[in-house]
């Protein structure tokens, strides 16, 4: 009988000897394990495979972390692009908003004048003059023509031309109104002096009224300019908010990346510790088997 040595009990390879009636059923039939290659003897295959499986798990984890990082970078790039597009769109809206405010002020002034005046052909000229004057005022305030034509000369000439045209229209309108009123009061032979006086008074009153209307239009334009400044301040505040949001997202991304890196290192350390323990156990068991 070929016995396989062990510390406390011997199991035998199969042989031709009959089993003893009092012995265990497995005696003489239980084969000894085959010798396996490797520095740690028969335990080597087991622990090598366990270590390989753990290494494969670690590699899979690393791949997942890398894939997650790439996805996060792509999301950040998309978010930045969307933010840039939003800022551009707001800048364009700002430019067109300025022009719209100027036009709105002009129309408002013209409407106010049109509501006050209702004296036939004279009112048309007055409205036109007020519009021209308002446009000239707006040009002086916002330099719309200068901005559009990119020429200081053009802007100045436009302002001067508009002012002159406004004065001419106002004077023409006043004269027309005076003429109508003079026609209504015609017939008095000795009233030419009085008529002349009336003309002068009416002209003065009309000029005064035009000046007051123009002042009102200017005030409206000034109000519109104040509204534009307020809107610009609000836009600055929104820009500041967007910048803060962008910085916050960037900080979150950096913190997430750092946390992932720390977790990955922790997993690698655990795997390494497990592998070292496995190697230690294998060596101890191999030593015990050799003994």
């Amino acid at each position: 009988m070929i016995a396989v040595g062990c510390a406390t009990r011997a199991f035998a390879l199969p042989c031709a000897e009959p089993a003893k009636p009092s012995g265990a059923s497995f005696e003489s039939v239980l084969p000894a394990p085959r010798a396996l290659a490797g520095p740690n003897g028969r335990m080597d295959a087991l622990y090598t495979l366990i270590a390989e499986r753990r290494e494969a798990g670690t590699r899979a984890g690393q791949s997942q972390v890398e894939m997650h990082r790439k996805s996060e970078r792509a999301e950040m790039a998309a978010a930045n692009a969307a933010l840039g597009e939003q800022i551009d769109a707001e800048n364009k809206a700002e430019t067109w908003g300025t022009l719209a405010k100027v036009a709105s002020a002009v129309v408002t002034a013209a409407s106010a004048v049109a509501a006050v005046c209702s004296c036939g052909a004279a009112s048309g000229l007055l409205v036109a003059s007020v519009c021209l004057s308002s446009a000239a005022f707006a040009e002086q305030q916002f330099h719309v023509v200068t901005q559009l034509s990119q020429s200081e000369t053009a802007g100045a000439a436009t302002s001067a031309g508009l002012a002159i045209a406004s004065a001419a229209c106002s004077l023409g309108g006043t004269l027309a109104a005076s003429a109508a009123q003079a026609g209504a009061s015609a017939g008095a032979a000795g009233a030419s002096a009085a008529s002349a006086t009336t003309k002068s008074v009416t002209t003065a009153a009309s000029l005064t009224a035009s000046a007051g209307q123009l002042t009102g239009g200017g005030a409206r334009v000034a109000t519109a300019a104040y509204g534009y400044a307020a809107a610009e301040s609000g836009l600055d505040a929104r820009r500041a908010d967007q910048h803060a949001e962008r910085m916050s997202a960037l900080a979150t991304w950096v913190m997430g990346t750092m946390k992932e890196a720390a977790t990955s290192h922790e997993r690698a350390l655990k795997t390494l510790a497990g592998a070292m323990k496995t190697q230690s156990d294998a060596t101890a068991i191999a030593g015990a088997l050799r003994a």
């Binding site: 406390t8 031709a16 039939v29 087991l46 496995t278 068991i285």
Partner: protein, 143 residues
């Protein structure tokens, strides 16, 4: 059995399912070596855990059933051991060793007829290994 060893064995069994046949042989031999080492150190419960894994990984290997039956028999569970030997004899056919162990267990349990029946079946079978053939003949004579 510690939780660590059990976790390693479980992961090892999962890994063994995806291995090529040559590596699977190494797995089987490693499991049997581990179970046999635990058995010879009289750690029967631990040995049974390992040998159950071996029986699942390599059901065609009679050594797993033999060693698992030996672990239960050493714990005094002869009925369980008999059933395990019978399973090994059926699954690992032709398993001469499992047949001999089953015949002995039946005889120890008082089932002489059953033991004789198993021995008769073994004698009628074609046994290539001369050592095993001689062992079966001696068992028949002793009975």
């Amino acid at each position: 059995m510690s939780a660590d060893i059990f976790e390693q064995l479980t992961s090892f069994t999962i890994a063994a399912g995806a291995l090529d046949p040559s590596t699977r042989d190494s797995v089987r031999e490693g499991l049997y070596a581990t179970g046999h080492w635990l058995l010879t150190n009289e750690r029967y419960a631990d040995a049974a855990e390992v040998l159950r894994v071996m029986c699942m990984v390599a059901p065609g290997d009679e050594r797993g059933f033999l060693a698992l039956g030996a672990a239960h028999e050493s714990e005094g569970q002869l009925e369980v051991a008999k059933d395990i030997y019978a399973t090994g004899w059926a699954l690992s056919s032709p398993s001469v060793r499992c047949g001999i162990a089953l015949s002995r267990a039946l005889r120890r349990l008082g089932d002489v007829d059953g033991s004789e029946e198993v021995l008769g079946a073994l004698c009628d079978s074609d046994i290539d290994d001369p050592d095993l053939a001689a062992l079966v003949a001696s068992e028949r004579r002793a009975a």
